[in-house]
Symmetry: C2
Subunit: 120 residues, 2 copies
């Protein structure tokens, strides 16, 4: 049995990626039904880019993939949680997590790669 | 300094609540600018209900409040993370977390209260 998902009017819903080992919340992005299906089929996290309007595999160009350990669904079925093994760093800025700043602007994450070496 | 937040066209953005101690991702809801401000002022997580179209304090009726340890912002400023101390359980179903099911329908969370005793 697969839980029914409640996609919004854009046929998307938010997906949170969490490091399965450290528990760090890595990023929040959006998924389409196809992105969820591709994640299940391939075992690697896929999302849907609202700006580029396309399915994307996390780490497809950077190599910083997210191997999926489990996909969880919230009580309303309108948000999902990817428990992942993150290769490299989750954030395009080079930090381990996209949530590397406090609301006050303090840096709490760790820079784990140089984005200029990864993204051209 | 406070980081600029990128609210969407509904003047909302998604907020993830994470248990600061266990690291469990508890829930995903939405916040308005006012909800974030109230969370900072009071030290307790506030959200904006898209269905009821109103600001709400988590645990306002159930007592299952979320005391905020830290608020983090993602790289794009369009999602925030509340690190909280959760009283009772986060989910209205009685589970510790709203993400208590896998996509396959297996229960992975723990029932920590009886919702019929809490919500009338």
């Amino acid at each position: 049995m697969s839980v029914d998902l409640a996609f919004d009017e854009q046929e998307l819903l938010p997906a949170v990626a969490q490091d399965a080992e450290s528990g760090d919340v890595l990023m929040l992005a959006y998924v389409s039904e196809e992105a969820v299906a591709r994640s299940r089929e391939t075992g690697y996290a896929h999302y849907y880019s609202r700006s580029r309007e396309e399915l994307w595999k996390k780490g497809g160009s950077s190599g910083h993939t997210q191997e999926i350990e489990e996909i969880r669904v919230d009580c309303d079925g309108d948000a999902i949680l990817y428990l992942v093994e993150q290769a490299g760093g989750a954030c395009h800025t080079g930090y381990d997590t996209c949530f590397h700043r406090t609301l006050d602007g303090d840096i709490v994450g760790e820079q784990v790669f140089d984005p200029e070496e990864i993204y051209e």
